[in-house]
């Protein structure tokens, strides 16, 4: 389903594409491991990236690490990995250990944040990061620094007032910010047709004087190209862009959810045929960037990282209870 030999024309080198594959696989395997750990009672909670890795990794590849800011949402394992978060970091967070760089074990997994990686701390109430991204872009404009703020959120979350207020503010001030909706068709149990009266969130861009672009979220190259174009626009002072990457949430909402209550197994199985990992694998085989041996090598590398990360996190210490009052205020 990814058109053969489409990556070159987008300026992606062969090694980039393999690298994308690596990150997508890494995200998937970290995620799968967390489910296992959850089901065996080792960690209390997982929220998944499964099905969204292509969009996440494709997007992050179009940004510039060290310059751009990201304000990811809870599913963005792919985004944060590309930006430098390690599987160990993620596992430390899943186990709520002291060394977790996101929050020192204070927040649930999926609440990413790391100043060094320009990854802005996120919370649970959805869509609050949208105005923050706009504020960072405003800051960059005031300070005349060339960078973008990139933020993501679900299609359900795009119905929060903060989306509207943030997008409008960015539009008025032509700020260097990229809004990317990861439309995975569900908001917990609520299907997109009960969330939105339109087929695509991207149509809302026009209302904020910005391009609204909908792309195939299972194709990392398409997402890469769209984010790259949006970044260009932003950096050139042409203002924000609203992107929508369309995909499917392959697993339940979270480890607390049971999706059999609200969607059929057939629907899920059907979607699995477009699993982005699988599609990119097929592409890589088709364009001869991957064969069984190379494939196994990558898989081994990924699994080694996941194993080591799990091992490390499992044995890492919890935060000291004496720290509970720390950092309410400065000092």
């Amino acid at each position: 389903m990814i058109p053969v030999n489409s990556h070159q024309s987008l300026g992606l080198q062969d090694k980039d594409v393999l690298n994308m594959y690596y990150y997508m696989l890494l995200a998937r395997k970290v995620d799968e491991r967390m489910w296992l750990l959850n089901r065996s009672g080792k960690i209390p909670f997982v929220i998944s990236c499964q099905g969204q890795e292509a969009a996440q990794v494709g997007a992050a590849f179009a940004l510039i690490k060290g310059e751009d800011y990201i304000l990811p949402y809870y599913r963005d394992v792919g985004v944060v990995l590309v930006f430098g978060m390690t599987p160990r970091d993620l596992m430390l967070s899943a186990y709520a250990k002291a060394e977790d760089p996101n929050s020192g074990g204070r927040q649930m997994p999926g609440h990413f944040g790391n100043k060094k990686l320009k990854t802005v701390s996120g919370s649970s109430p959805v869509t609050t990061q949208v105005p923050h991204a706009v504020g960072i872009a405003l800051g960059a404009k005031i300070k005349q620094e060339r960078l973008v703020a990139f933020t993501t959120f679900g299609e359900g979350s795009s119905n929060q007032g903060d989306f509207h207020e943030g997008a409008n503010f960015a539009g008025v001030h032509k700020l260097p910010v990229i809004f990317m909706v990861e439309n995975n068709k569900y908001a917990i149990s609520v299907p997109v047709k009960k969330q939105l009266p339109v087929d695509s969130v991207a149509v809302r861009g026009a209302g904020y004087g910005m391009p609204g672009v909908s792309v195939d979220g299972n194709n990392p190259f398409e997402v890469y190209a769209a984010v790259r174009a949006a970044r260009e626009r932003a950096i050139n002072g042409e203002g924000p862009t609203l992107l929508e990457a369309v995909m499917y949430r392959l697993v339940p909402h979270s480890s607390d959810d049971d999706d059999r209550a609200y969607r059929t197994r057939e629907e899920v199985e059907e979607a699995k045929k477009r699993d982005p990992i699988f599609l990119l694998e097929r592409y890589l085989y088709d364009v001869d960037l991957l064969d069984d041996k190379k494939h196994q090598e990558i898989l081994d590398k990924v699994m080694k990282e996941v194993n080591e990360a799990t091992e490390y996190a499992e044995h890492a210490p919890y935060p000291d209870i004496k720290t509970i009052m720390d950092h309410v205020y400065e000092g």
Binding site: P44, F45, A96, K97, A98, S103, G104, G105, R106, Q107, M108, H111, S123, S124, P125, V126, G154, G156, S157, N159, Q160, G161, D162, A187, I188, S189, V190, K194, Q195, L196, D256, D257, A261, Y262, Y318, P319, I321, T323, I324, M325, V328
Partner: protein, 327 residues
């Protein structure tokens, strides 16, 4: 009489009221076919259809604001906020609109709406799925606020809330949903909003509390009984209006008062309760009014040892009561 869990009592109250009055309907996130993320609306969609059990878009200000509109039209909405932590996007609709509608229109319009929200911690919910948010709303006249502790109280008070002609915030402690079971009559009873209840008689120390802490206090009292300390426990049940007489009576009972809540201490409901006593029953006191409450941190951490450290428990409560008894 059936033995129901706390959450079953929630569901039952809604079901009975929806049967009784076709103007009652439910709206919120995932309340339909999913039956709510906690399953509080379980079965209602099947029984009453999608016109009366409405899955809304993910937007709390609209859930409350649209609910207000429907209430103005004459319906009786029950809005579910999925977690109390997510009530703040709707703060303006609650505080500026629902609470002030009757007063501002000089009694012409009113908002008969219930806003249900699961709150509280001890469920690995971390900073944003564990909060106690009730105190934010206790400075807002025009609202009623309920935080029941038992299945019996849940049914009686939720039914009363649904029939009330003013907006009611109904806070359900999510740790209690499946932890606590109790007898719930099949009869159609309601309980008065604004009345506290003595959950245990005693004459050494008075505990004033609500929610999960009622149970922890009861456990602490059991333990202390053996040490010869008799604990009197008042369950506030309603946080707005507070039952002043009940509070003062409970104070007189022992002369030693400890107020306990899971919510942060500073600015919590305990402050108001203490102030009422200090203003109206000071000379009944034999000891300072103590408050035992959550630490003043933004919210409850995820990491199990930190969560445990934050949460009050029967031991911490027993210790504090004992200290006060020995004062």
């Amino acid at each position: 009489m059936a033995i129901l869990s706390y959450i079953e009592a929630v569901t039952l109250a809604m079901r009975e009221e929806m049967k009784r009055d076709k103007d009652v309907f439910v709206l919120g996130e995932d309340v339909g076919i999913r039956g709510g993320v906690f399953r509080a609306t379980n079965g209602l969609y099947e029984e009453f259809g999608e016109n009366r059990v409405i899955d809304t878009p993910l937007a709390e200000s609209a859930i409350v604001g649209v609910g207000i509109g429907a209430a103005l039209y004459g319906l009786r909405p029950i809005a579910e906020i999925q977690f109390a932590d997510f009530i703040f996007p709707a703060a303006n609709q609650i505080i500026s609109e629902a609470a002030k509608m009757r007063y501002r229109s000089n009694n012409d319009w009113n908002v008969p709406m219930v806003i249900r929200a699961p709150y509280g911690g001890g469920v690995h919910g971390a900073l944003y799925h564990s909060q106690s948010v009730e105190a934010v709303f206790t400075n807002v006249p025009g609202l009623k606020i309920i935080a029941p502790s038992t299945p019996y109280d849940v049914k009686g008070l939720l039914k009363a809330a649904i029939r009330d002609n003013d907006p009611v915030l109904f806070f359900e402690h999510k740790r209690l949903y499946r932890l606590v079971k109790g007898e719930v009559p099949e009869t159609d009873y309601t309980l008065p909003i604004g009345k506290a209840e003595v959950k245990r008689e005693g004459d050494d120390v008075t505990v004033i509390t609500y929610g999960l802490m009622v149970h922890y206090a009861l456990q602490a009292a059991e333990k202390l009984e053996k040490d010869g300390i008799n604990v009197h426990i008042l369950d506030l049940r309603s946080l707005q209006p507070l039952d002043k007489e009940g509070i003062i009576e409970a104070t007189k009972k022992t002369g030693k008062v400890i107020i306990i809540h899971e919510d942060n201490k500073t600015g919590g409901v305990g402050g108001e309760v203490s102030a009422i006593i200090a203003e109206e029953a000071l000379f009944e006191l034999d000891a300072p009014i103590k408050r035992l409450a959550g630490e003043d941190i933004p919210a409850m951490p995820y990491s199990p040892p930190l969560e445990k450290e934050y949460m009050l428990n029967p031991e911490k409560i027993a210790k504090a009561i004992k200290e006060l008894a020995e004062f």
